[in-house]
């Protein structure tokens, strides 16, 4: 089974997210970058399937040239091929992103002479959270898609996909080639080994320059939600604070 995983490079903020002066992006001056968590799990799932059942894993990202870092990371944890669709670094809207990704996927499939059996997306990107790029790509390619997947069991000509619902799972049997939106928790992503890191330096980066028209959604300004004003009551600096804590638990009625 050959699997394509589409990932997004996002900043990794800590206690606060700061916005640049023009309001158009997260101020990442002092931040590291990472792969959006759902996609990190999608990649791990693809690598596990390829290790078990054979086939190759390709990681593709649309983003600034610096996103090569996330592609190399993908190679260090087991991806066989890495493809970058470079942007100028500005945030692309979902329609534009989906159009460019579709073209890139069509080109890769043409070069391979066959479609990817599975294309995995994160259920939503960690930053802009548009909840739609995977679905748009699936429809442009004429393939079925299901989101919120937390379990994949590959079969012959189809996959069993488990979707998380309140208190359990829905089970789908999706014919391949197909597109799935993956959620964190489907697995525990591995850390790269030293050998993986070395191999990733040698992985060949393919670049696909693709132009696409902006869609109808435009970003005007990012801002932080109003903070809830809070004062913290310090109950103590050692275990004797337990008495006050249990008083509070009694007061609010959670202690019978």
């Amino acid at each position: 089974m050959n699997i394509l995983v589409c990932v997004k490079r996002v900043p990794a903020p800590g206690a606060k997210i700061n916005v640049t002066e023009d309001g158009l992006s997260v101020d990442s001056a002092h931040l590291g970058f990472t792969t959006s968590p759902h996609e990190e799990c999608a990649l791990e799932e693809a690598v596990q399937i390829s290790e078990r059942d054979g086939g190759e894993v390709t990681v593709l990202t649309l983003g600034p040239v610096e996103a090569e870092e996330q592609l190399r990371y993908g190679a260090s944890v087991g991806a066989h091929h890495i493809i970058l669709v470079p942007t100028d670094g500005s945030a692309w809207d979902p329609q534009r992103t989906a159009a460019a990704l579709t073209t890139a996927i069509e080109q890769a499939e043409q070069a391979n002479g066959q479609p990817f059996d599975l294309i995995l997306f994160g259920n939503e990107s960690a930053d802009s959270g548009g909840f739609q790029v995977g679905v748009r790509v699936a429809l442009k390619l004429g393939r079925p898609s299901v989101n919120a997947i937390k379990g994949i069991d590959p079969g012959d000509g189809s996959v069993i996909a488990r979707r998380e619902i309140d208190g359990g799972f829905e089970v789908y049997e999706v014919p391949t080639p197909a597109v799935l939106g993956i959620k964190e928790g489907i697995n525990l992503p591995r850390y790269p080994t030293m050998k993986g890191r070395l191999a990733s330096k040698k992985a060949t980066l393919e670049t696909a320059e693709i132009a696409a028209e902006p869609g109808g959604q435009a970003l005007i300004r990012l801002h932080r939600p109003p903070e809830q004003a809070s004062t913290t009551e310090i109950l103590g600096t050692d275990e004797t604070a337990a008495v006050r804590i249990v008083d509070i638990l009694e007061e609010i009625g959670v202690l019978a």
């Binding site: 997210i17 739609q132 600096t237 019978a256």
Partner: protein, 324 residues
Amino acid sequence: MSLLVVLEHDRGKWVEANDEALTAARKLASDMGVELHAALVGVGARDLVSQAATGGAAVVHLCEHEVLTDYGPDAVGETVAQLVASINPSAITAVGTSRGNEVLAQLAARADLPFVANCMTVAPSDGPWSMTRVQWGGSLLEDATLDAPTKVLSFGHHSVVAEVADAPGAGEVREFAPALDPAMAATIVRDRDVQTAGVTLSTAPVVISGGRGVGSAEGFDQLEELAELLGGRVGCSRAVTNLGWRNHTDQVGQTGTRIAPEIYIATGISGAIQHWVGAMASKRILAINTDAEANMVTKADYAVIADLHKVVPAITAEIRRRQG
């Protein structure tokens, strides 16, 4: 002219998110000065017409087809796309649950329209609309514009407080039979695997979480013991999930579970913004941390600046002492 709200159901069972959807849609329809229509799709939908009317729908489009035996993103998405092509509403909305966002994404892709997910407020106008939407799971907000002949947008789940309609809508039922390719049955739910959960993380009255500061998987035993005494559930941070100490089902935060307990006890957790957005709906927060400057501490209602390995067993002992 109309606003179409796409409602959800679980094999004929009304879902709570519909009350939010109708609350947001009533206001939007009134701001737009148009009639509110609702779409109900698939087996069991017929039983919910009166609830949609009670929620203010003037017209309920009942969409049935033999392929629609249960939820399926392609089949439901195509059904809504055909309904939209037939009745031509000015805008289509839903609540941004997994299904709500998925169906609107399907609709938007099929109709080649933009789709703005998880809005908090929406200002309709004759030109492009303005909205404020959620980024980073709620840690950041985005002012955006939507320029399209037909507007497609969802409201963020839990960003609207459900209210009862002042007056019910007429609830006139219009049947709509989509033309669906039987191949769409491929992505209809085949089966369900329901787990008996008891109190879940999202409904527990008390949640006691541990972060990296807990130090090991075994370190969570003391949190389990306390949670049991309080009838609560144990949660954790992503650092803990990544270390393999706890299952992801216990993770609180942007990519985990959103909780809203009476009290949240966060031990050994620094309070990164992605953790905080999952915990901020808690009624009260108690942070136990060795670092007085930790974000979790400065944002909490109560804090103890000490080693959790001493404080947590002391709480358990104090409860046992009082219970005799």
